[in-house]
């Protein structure tokens, strides 16, 4: 299901491990992080590549986790 040629930022991403904690949350990894092309749509990836701050609560779709 997952592709190893996904996002190169996985190792440093604060949210990626959290997405592994519950089955339903892994949909983020599947739809963004592990996809060879779709990870480029991730707002965290885009901001990081632009040298902008990436808040830990920022979801790949650009929404914030309501903490």
């Amino acid at each position: 299901m997952s592709d190893t040629k996904g996002c190169s930022h996985i190792s440093g991403c604060e949210l990626y491990p959290r997405f592994s904690l519950k089955g339903a949350l892994r949909i983020w990894q599947e739809r963004y992080c592990n996809s060879p092309t779709q990870h480029q749509r991730c707002e965290r990836f885009i901001r990081s590549n632009a040298g902008k701050p990436v808040p830990a609560t920022l979801l790949p779709n650009g929404e914030e986790i309501p903490t």
Binding site: S20, K22, I27, R31, P55, P66
Partner: protein, 212 residues
């Protein structure tokens, strides 16, 4: 120290072993990437926005955080897509389960200690080499170009500001991009490192010529 270890500088391979060992070690032990400018920014709280968000995550009730994440997931993909995905997950073993636990935010004292120890390590290296001394200049070329004195300090300060701005704009420095990024073949790190090292080499040659 034996003469084959130290000449004017440490031999390149010894430095490479230390740097590489540290980058790999910090990853194996802490699952963190080396980044000196990141530590510097954290030490002076330039990364307050990121830190506050990370702190909120760290301090959030785990169950409430789970629920919030699940709500956000359902909103993002829709209940049907999530249910369908869960069915697929149940039918197909996934290799994403074996990942490290979420990282905890490092306190500022850790970053400060790291930065102080960089200077201490450099001093120990110079002491071991027998070359440690207090210096108030940047060498012959810098003095020849700036004329020394206040001008020299102003040029030095201006250069420092440019380096700081460039590092923030590039999202990293020689350690973050050069070591952690290039070793993972991150495209932006490859471009950044090529740019700042290329520019540094060209500038060094230019200054050498101008100083003659």
């Amino acid at each position: 120290m034996p003469s084959w270890v130290f000449h004017d500088y440490w031999p390149w391979w010894l430095g490479a072993i230390f740097f590489g060992g540290f980058v790999v070690g910090i990853w194996l032990l802490e699952r963190r990437l080396l980044g000196v400018s990141g530590s510097y920014a954290a030490a002076i709280e330039l990364t307050r926005q990121e830190d506050e968000a990370a702190r909120r995550l760290d301090e959030a009730d785990p169950q409430a955080l789970d629920e919030a994440l699940l709500r956000a997931t359902l909103e993002a993909f829709g209940p049907e897509a999530v249910a369908e995905f869960e069915k697929e997950m149940a039918a197909t073993p996934s290799d994403t389960a074996a990942v490290a636990a979420p990282r905890k935010l490092l306190p500022r004292s850790v970053h400060v200690t790291f930065l102080v120890m960089l200077a201490v390590g450099g001093a120990i290296g110079a002491l071991a080499q027998g070359t440690w001394q207090l210096r108030f200049d940047l060498g012959v070329v810098h003095e020849a170009l700036t004329g020394g004195g206040v001008t020299s300090l102003l040029v030095l300060g201006f250069g420092g500001v440019l380096v700081g701005l460039g590092t923030r704009m590039a999202g990293g420095c020689t350690s973050g991009h050069g070591l952690s990024g290039c070793s993972r073949l991150v495209p932006t790190s490859l471009v950044s490192t090529g740019t700042f090292f290329g520019t540094a080499i060209a500038t060094s040659f230019l200054l050498e010529v101008l100083a003659r």
